[in-house]
Amino acid sequence: MIHFNKVTKVFKTDIFTPPFCALDGVDFTVPEGSMVGFLGANGAGKTTSLKIIMDFIRPSSGNVIFDKSLGSSKLEIFKNIGFLPERPYFYPNLTGEEFIHFMGKLSEVPSSQIKHEISVWAPKFKIDYALKRELKTYSKGMLQRVGFLATILHHPKLVILDEPISGLDPIGRKELKDVIVEIQREGKTIFFSSHIVPDVEEICDRVIFLKEGKLIYDGPVNTLLSTNIGQDFLFVLGDTELKDFSTPFKQKVKLPDNFSKYVVAAQDKDKFLNEAIQKNANIISIDSVRPSLEEIFYHTQVSK
């Protein structure tokens, strides 16, 4: 759907400051129908990338190639895109309803359909009660919901969201994630940046990692997780209070109710299992140690 083609962006502030390279030959694709998470620490270049995709700023080199299914001209393409910026600040004196109508009309949605979309989506976003109020009276979460509604109002094929769930409370995050999953199931392509890695892991099938303006990873979440599976195994055993294991293990953690967790190296796995069986240990579970996306993200960001 989008090919971000070897994009470099260098910012030149003034003649006294050296140029700053925000993106360095970044190249990734967002496949049609996928849910892609865009990860990176602050200043990694996520928002700059999204601004280049939306033509708010121009790249120093490289370009953005949109799928032909989105259209051939810029206006056609943008008719099929829904974009929600980070921390949106809307016109404070307009009501929520006026703002949604404004956005709908710009996207060439007839007034009757805008009303219909509001009646469908406003209850889902739990914002219907406030639509007659001026936006200056809205909380941050409410503004995010109205912005989200305005973003998907015209049924775009591609939805691009910049930090859509940051700053929301857990309930708000859950509700917004549910809507994101719902619209993706309708066949839309979702591309969103986020700092909240577990949320990306939960709902995305692909992930793109940026670090200091460079691409670190572009691919399926599962591939990233499986390639980072450690060589250790995790045994959870019950009633192990009096059992001493002669097989070496790396770590033992006592859990409540007389359960214990053992981390065992791969080469000792079978020996440890045999010993546990011989000692009539209550084996609850055996699993490979699987790092979360957040752990991988953290290690990627801190490693040089």
């Binding site: 939306m54 033509d55 708010f56 056609e76 895109i81 929600l84 004196n93 060439e108």
Partner: protein, 257 residues
């Protein structure tokens, strides 16, 4: 279709500004205008209607300038700073349609201000025994044109400088634009060819606001030659159009970060 988009942007810009209590401002200016006119006519012998028109047009001009200057300064820059512009230009709309819509929306507010205040001026003049001649209508029209030109100057400068500098630069351009002819006619400038040449260049490049100021004539004249009015009108319209194209060209190339 993009004309419609400009009108959509204009409509909601108008609504947004209208709801920001700007009409209350117009109301207070109108009230002040009535009080000042009443007081001034009480101290005048013989020509109270002329005093009413003089004060009225002065206040109308000032309020139009204030709207162009203080609302115009944030018209584009605030949109960029607060990222509201991202929500709009990520829709199927050309950047020039957005600019034209914003300008039209604010000029709609100017029109409301003009209609309300000029209605008061004409009523006061009429009640005091004056007559509503064509020059008065031309003057009001030219105040509108002046406010448009100033708004375009402010919008252009705001794309290049911060808000404080924009107000300062625009104010200087407005004052110089009103006084350039008087300055050029002064003996000091006449005797200094270099200075005169510089002012001639300035006169050619920057807006000559004095051409749109008919307030000095309206008190003592009932009409002006149509050629003078026509030339001034053409000057105002052509300069405004050129400036609008320049704003669009700059905004089209501007990185919105």
């Amino acid at each position: 279709m993009n004309t419609n988009k400009s009108l959509v942007v204009a409509l909601y810009t108008f609504k947004e500004i209208l709801k920001s209590k700007i009409l209350l401002n117009v109301f207070f200016v109108g009230l002040g205008l009535m009080i000042v006119t009443y007081v001034a006519t009480e101290f005048t012998y013989g020509v109270p209607e002329r005093v009413a028109v003089d004060f009225g047009l002065g206040m109308l001009s000032l309020s139009s300038i204030a709207i162009s200057l203080f609302l115009g300064v944030g018209l584009l820059s605030k949109e960029i700073e607060s990222r509201t512009v991202y929500m709009i230009i990520s829709r199927p709309i050309h950047r020039y349609s957005f600019i034209i819509g914003k300008i039209l929306g604010l000029m709609g507010i100017q029109l409301v201000n003009l209609v309300v205040l000029s209605g008061m001026i004409l009523s006061a003049s009429y009640l005091l025994g004056g007559e509503v001649n064509s020059l008065l209508i031309w003057t009001v029209g030219f105040i509108f044109l002046e406010s448009l030109l100033l708004l375009l100057v402010v919008s252009f400068v705001s794309l290049l400088a911060n808000n404080v500098l924009t107000v300062l630069f625009s104010l200087v351009i407005l004052l110089l634009g009103h006084s350039i002819k008087e300055t050029q006619n002064s003996l000091f400038v006449q005797k200094n060819p270099l200075l005169n040449g510089l002012l001639e260049i300035y006169h050619f490049v920057l807006p000559a606001f004095y051409k749109l100021n008919l307030k000095d004539f309206v008190i003592y004249e009932k009409s002006l030659p149509l050629s003078y009015l026509g030339n001034s009108l053409i000057y105002g319209v052509v300069y405004s159009t050129a400036l609008l194209f320049l704003i669009i060209a700059v905004f089209n190339r501007k990185n919105l970060d």
